[in-house]
Structure formats: structure tokens, C-alpha cells
């Protein structure tokens, strides 16, 4: 049972960790200074949430692995994040579209995890949800502004949504780990988040005058450890310092 809990918390940690890494790539490259700061502030929050979860996972595992070892010294197939969060940022519109799709998921996940039987996990959820509301609000504002904006911004937002939407199917595909964690009162059944997520996302996309793509049978499998071709490049950069100087501390 403790392996289930460790794996489950690790899974939870990898999404904010990898998206935090992606968003931090915007540092110094934002379209305007204010948005450069906003994206990197969101990145910092996500990395902070990942640190809390990784430290907790390390305690559950009980083998002395800390947050740095878990964040930086695993092999690609051991990362359990959704494929969506590892995809390249693309333009600003694609970045905020992903922040909307993932941010709405994360909000409802934290909401449910506040009732976890694991009091530490519930506390992390209770803290993180407050931050996630601001992240989502930022993504909603920009999605509406750009989607219902100029011809150019609308076209870019629609292209971003067409590209990213199929990857959201993975959010709600149940696997054995989710089921075990949910049965234990520790986690959340993946499918239970789909309704609330759609209720949050669809009206925003409607207001942004964006068309939701038709469902496809495509399923990404990042959560199962089968990542896209982009993940290795991301990890090479993220892990460089710990691989080169093992045990390095700032």
C-alpha cells in the first residue's frame, strides 16, 4: 500500500514540476515585461508545489530520497507527468491555452484532494488551490482576450487549442494506480474530475469564440511513463547540474 501512495504522490508532483520547468523557459522571453514576470511567477509556484509533493513522496517511500533526488535523478520513463505539460511552449497563446487546460484540471484536483485521508497531502492541496486560482484566472483572462481578439490572435489560439485539446483525454483516463489510491481514500478517481473540468473550461472557450475540436481516439501516455520526443530534451536541461555535480546544493 505504501508503494501505491508513493507512486501516486510522485505522479501528482511531476505535472507541476515539468510545467514549472517549461514556464521558466519564458524568463527573459515574455512578450512584455509584465507577462514575463507573470509566467515565471506561476512557474515558481508550480515548482514550489512540486517540491512539497516530492518531499512528501520521499518520506512515504522511506528510502532516504529527498526532493532533489526525485526531481533530478530519475530516468525519463520514471516521470509520470501528462504529455501535455512537457510539450514545447510554442507562442504565448499556446502557453496560456495549456495553462487554461491544465490549470482548470489542477484546480479541481486540489479541490478533491483537500479531503484526502493523508493529512499532509490534504494540507498541500489546501495551500496550492489558493495559488492555482490565481494561475487559472491569468490563463482565463488571456484566453478570452486573445481568442476574442484580432484575426491573427484568434487564429493562433484556435491552432493552439486544436493541437493541445487531444492531450487532455489523458487527464481522465483511469489507471490501476488511480483506482488503488482512490479506493484507499488517499487519492481521487481520475474520471470524477472530467465533469467539473468541462464546466470550467467550456464557457471560457465559448467566450473566447474558440471552437472545441472533435473527440479523437488519440491518447497520450505520459502518465504511464511513455513520453513524447520532447521530454528527453527537457530533462537533459533540467537534470544537467545534478548529473554533472551529484549532490550539488545552491
Amino acid at each position: 500500500m505504501s508503494t501505491t501512495r508513493f507512486d501516486y504522490v510522485l505522479c501528482l508532483a511531476d505535472n507541476p514540476l515539468i510545467l514549472g520547468q517549461r514556464l521558466s523557459e519564458w524568463c527573459g522571453h515574455g512578450p512584455v515585461l509584465e507577462e514575463d514576470l507573470a509566467l515565471t511567477n506561476v512557474a515558481l509556484d508550480l515548482i514550489g508545489q512540486a517540491r512539497l509533493l516530492l518531499a512528501h513522496a520521499g518520506k512515504l517511500e522511506g528510502k532516504g530520497r529527498g526532493e532533489d533526488q526525485l526531481a533530478f535523478l530519475r530516468a525519463e520513463s520514471e516521470y509520470r507527468n501528462f504529455t501535455l505539460v512537457e510539450l514545447p511552449n510554442g507562442d504565448f497563446g499556446r502557453t496560456v491555452t495549456r495553462n487554461l487546460l491544465f490549470g482548470a484540471y489542477q484546480l479541481h484536483l486540489w479541490e478533491a484532494l483537500q479531503r484526502s485521508r493523508d493529512s499532509e497531502l490534504a494540507a498541500i492541496a489546501g495551500k496550492s488551490i489558493k495559488e492555482s486560482r490565481y494561475h487559472l484566472r491569468h490563463a482565463v483572462d488571456w484566453t478570452v482576450r486573445l481568442g476574442d481578439g484580432t484575426e491573427e490572435s484568434h487564429a493562433r489560439m484556435q491552432a493552439a487549442l486544436d493541437l493541445l485539446w487531444p492531450y487532455t483525454g489523458e487527464f481522465f483516463a483511469a489507471d490501476a494506480l488511480d483506482e488503488a489510491a482512490a479506493a484507499d481514500g488517499f487519492g481521487v478517481p481520475a474520471g470524477s474530475l472530467q465533469g467539473p473540468w468541462e464546466d470550467t473550461v467550456r464557457p471560457v472557450l465559448g467566450e473566447a469564440t474558440l471552437r472545441i475540436p472533435e473527440p479523437t481516439p488519440f491518447r497520450s501516455r505520459g502518465k504511464g511513463g511513455m513520453h513524447s520526443e520532447h521530454m528527453g530534451h527537457l530533462l537533459a536541461e533540467m537534470q544537467y547540474m545534478q548529473r554533472t555535480y551529484p549532490g550539488l546544493q545552491w
Binding site: L37, A38, V42, G48, I124, G126, K130, R133, Y134, R137
Partner: protein, 161 residues
């Protein structure tokens, strides 16, 4: 031996590293202090998960207590209940404003359905109500960036959370 009251006094002089006009106690992050024979335990709650000041704050707290004569300092982190801007001391609000940061007002976004609502804030420098929000985030995650349309100065807003 240093008493709990003396330890609180020592920490009231520790400024927040990002906003030095308020102390870590006024910020509401020191939740509890326990003192015994030669050790003091300080329970601290982080503001934002990603706040880079958290580690500096822990070091400043430790240094202040060692300076006050405590032999051994333990710092514990407590996540629940999560930090809220409601814990910022009321007397610190005016100091924030004088420093150019509008103190938090209203309520934090509550529901999953975000509101398209931007609170109208008075400029902390000239008092004008003609201000606009430039960004939901600022130099730190806890603040939003605004601009005064009359005196043209930018200012920050400590967001309610």
C-alpha cells in the same frame, strides 16, 4: 534562558526580506513559538509555495534568536491552515501603502469559476481612483502590478489570498 515573550520580541524586529517595512510577525507567518531550557522552536507557515524568500526568512529568524541568546533554534514548517493575507497585521497596512504597495482588500477568488472583476484601487501615491491593472502578477507572486492614470506612477497591490 530566553522566554517565549522575549523570542516574540526578537522576531518582531525581523523584517520581511522582500517588503522590509513589515516584520515577519506582522506578515502572519510566525504561527507559534515554544521555548524550553535552551531551545526555541518556531513554527513558520510559507506564504506562497514558490516564494523564494522562504529560506531567507528561516535564516533571518534563526540569526535573530541566536543573537538574542538562544542556544538552539528549531524551525518547523506548518502548511495547514494555509497562510492568508487576512493574517497581515492591520497596523502594517498603512506602512505598506506608504511604501507604495496597496494592502490587500476584498476577498480572494473563491469558486472554480473565475470572476472577470478587477478591483478598483486608489493610487498609494496620489490617491487617484483612476488606476488600471497591468498584470495579475508583479515583482513577487503575492503582488499584482497596477498603474495610476493620473500621476502615471506604477504601483503594486498585495493580492488577497
Amino acid at each position: 534562558m530566553v522566554t517565549e515573550a522575549q523570542a516574540w520580541d526578537a522576531l518582531r524586529a525581523v523584517p520581511d526580506p522582500e517588503i522590509p517595512v513589515i516584520s515577519v510577525c506582522e506578515l502572519g507567518i510566525v504561527r507559534e513559538i515554544r521555548a524550553d531550557a535552551n531551545a526555541v522552536t518556531v513554527v513558520v507557515t510559507p506564504t506562497y509555495s514558490g516564494c523564494p524568500a522562504t529560506e531567507v526568512i528561516a535564516t533571518s529568524i534563526r540569526d535573530a534568536l541566536l543573537q538574542a541568546g538562544v542556544e538552539h533554534v528549531d524551525i518547523e514548517t506548518r502548511l495547514s491552515p494555509p497562510w492568508t493575507t487576512d493574517w497581515i497585521a492591520p497596523e502594517a497596512a498603512e506602512r505598506l501603502r506608504a511604501y507604495g504597495i496597496v494592502p490587500p482588500s476584498g476577498v480572494a477568488p473563491a469558486g472554480p469559476r473565475p470572476l472577470h472583476f478587477v478591483p478598483r484601487l486608489a493610487c498609494p501615491r496620489c490617491g487617484s481612483q483612476q488606476t488600471e491593472r497591468l498584470s495579475e502578477f508583479g515583482s513577487t507572486a503575492c503582488k499584482a502590478t497596477y498603474r495610476c492614470l493620473d500621476c502615471r506612477e506604477p504601483f503594486e497591490y498585495f493580492k488577497p489570498i
